[in-house]
Symmetry: C2
Subunit: 266 residues, 2 copies
């Protein structure tokens, strides 16, 4: 089984990392559309055009199953991607919402994400479809903190404390009784331990990278390719291959030996 | 005199704010190309196309003098803009470099800016032309901190302390004797007091919004329109007019009563 993973950048490598753990026998190809990021501020039409060309590239490279590890593309272009390719497609917003539904007893869920994801209200819509009430909060400082590599700095703990205090106050004001917090950005799994330390213990933290890998493993059956003696993983990016390898290794948790540059046009 | 001010977003409103103080008699029109931001990650050709269409719009609206308050457009497209319009054009990178030249006795200058501006090495080139040595540092957390409005939070002081300590260590390792620090991003004037509190007293802080206004006032002569009883200021944006008015007021230091939406195409 060859699994294609797509993101606008390298945040989706946290999803690939979880997939490698859950489906060790499969092969993987990862595409970061780094030349055209960020998707967050772009129109639905443009995101759909970028995401479908990226998805087609991965299928041409042999992907038999696609994981859309980009929140914006999952939110705005999942139907377009499904129409453009003939392989099964799963997006991180729906897997996060599935996991929230399975986790929450009270039906009240909190989501933290980038400003663009919050403004799209993609998690709110996906959670509402599953009968959940949702409070979404944009945390625009978390991505640059992760990209600076300041994971364990006191300043990051303080930023998290401010965001989480605000979120819990908003939840209280809205008479929410939340028991689940969804990490709605592929950068946030790197801060998972810090976030769990900051929020009340009554809140279960849903790491969308982790739950996406679990759900893919479930769909593909035990192992998804267990006969395969070792995974072959290939990396593609549309820009700045050196930066991708350097920064990406932090997200993947292991060295990225080679990244191939691809041109998908404007 | 009607002065046009252009930025990809609302950061350039710090430049407009300084211009209003220095040239109180002039009229102003401000354009934020918010639909197409950020410029930082885009190619020179694309930035030039966006910036020239924006500059032409301001001239059509009556601007007789253009201030390019966008670091990326100043760095990548100043010649294209000058070729596209018949009015004088001044960019924030050159005014910042001019002020650094006038300020520095040692000839060693520090610049802090966004990652995109640092990667363009625009300040390094402009300062080198003026016989200065430069050390540039990207500070990617400062823009989101300003946009969150966390100006006076302890967490912002701590982020500044980390960045400035790293910068001074790099300066020492490079055997620099800096006496001047250029704020190479139009968001940073909002943190000027905090930055001045963090750096050694021997370092003079150059606020590029402030020095741009001074240099425009100098070029246009005393007052630049002193006969005018009061400034007329018009605001245009290519997207999210409501967000522009709300967030922009913080940068301008006064309420923005009205923003007109304009369509400059893709």
């Amino acid at each position: 089984m060859n699994i294609g993973v797509f993101d606008s950048g390298f945040g989706g490598l946290t999803v690939l990392r979880a997939l490698l753990e859950h489906i060790p026998g499969a092969d993987f190809c990862y595409l970061g559309d780094t030349a055209r990021l960020p998707y967050g501020a772009k129109s639905r039409q443009t995101v759909a055009r970028y995401a479908t060309s990226s998805a087609r590239f991965l299928v041409e490279e042999g992907a038999e199953y696609l994981v859309i590890a980009c929140n914006t593309a999952s939110a705005l272009a999942l139907d377009d991607i499904r129409a453009a390719v003939s392989v099964p497609v799963l997006g991180v917003v729906e897997t996060g919402a599935n996991a929230a539904r399975a986790s929450s007893a009270t039906g009240d869920v909190l989501v933290i994400a980038t400003a663009a994801t919050v403004e799209s209200h993609a998690y709110a819509a996906a959670c509402a479809e599953r009968g959940l009430r949702v409070l979404e909060k944009a945390c625009p400082l978390l991505v640059p903190l992760v990209e600076e590599g300041w994971i364990d700095r006191p300043v990051t703990a303080e930023v998290l404390r401010i965001y989480m205090t605000e979120l819990m106050e908003q939840a209280q004001a809205a008479r929410f009784t939340p028991d689940t917090l969804v990490l709605g950005c592929t950068h946030y799994p790197l801060l998972r331990a810090q976030i769990e330390r900051t929020v009340p213990r009554s809140l279960r933290v849903i790491d969308s990278a982790e739950v996406t890998a679990e759900q893919v493993a479930q769909v593909l059956g035990a192992g998804g390719g267990a006969a395969n003696p070792g995974s072959r993983v290939r990396f593609f990016a549309t820009d700045s291959v050196a930066k991708f390898a350097a920064l990406g290794s932090r997200f993947l948790g292991r060295t990225i030996p080679r990244v191939d540059l691809v041109d998908l046009g404007g």
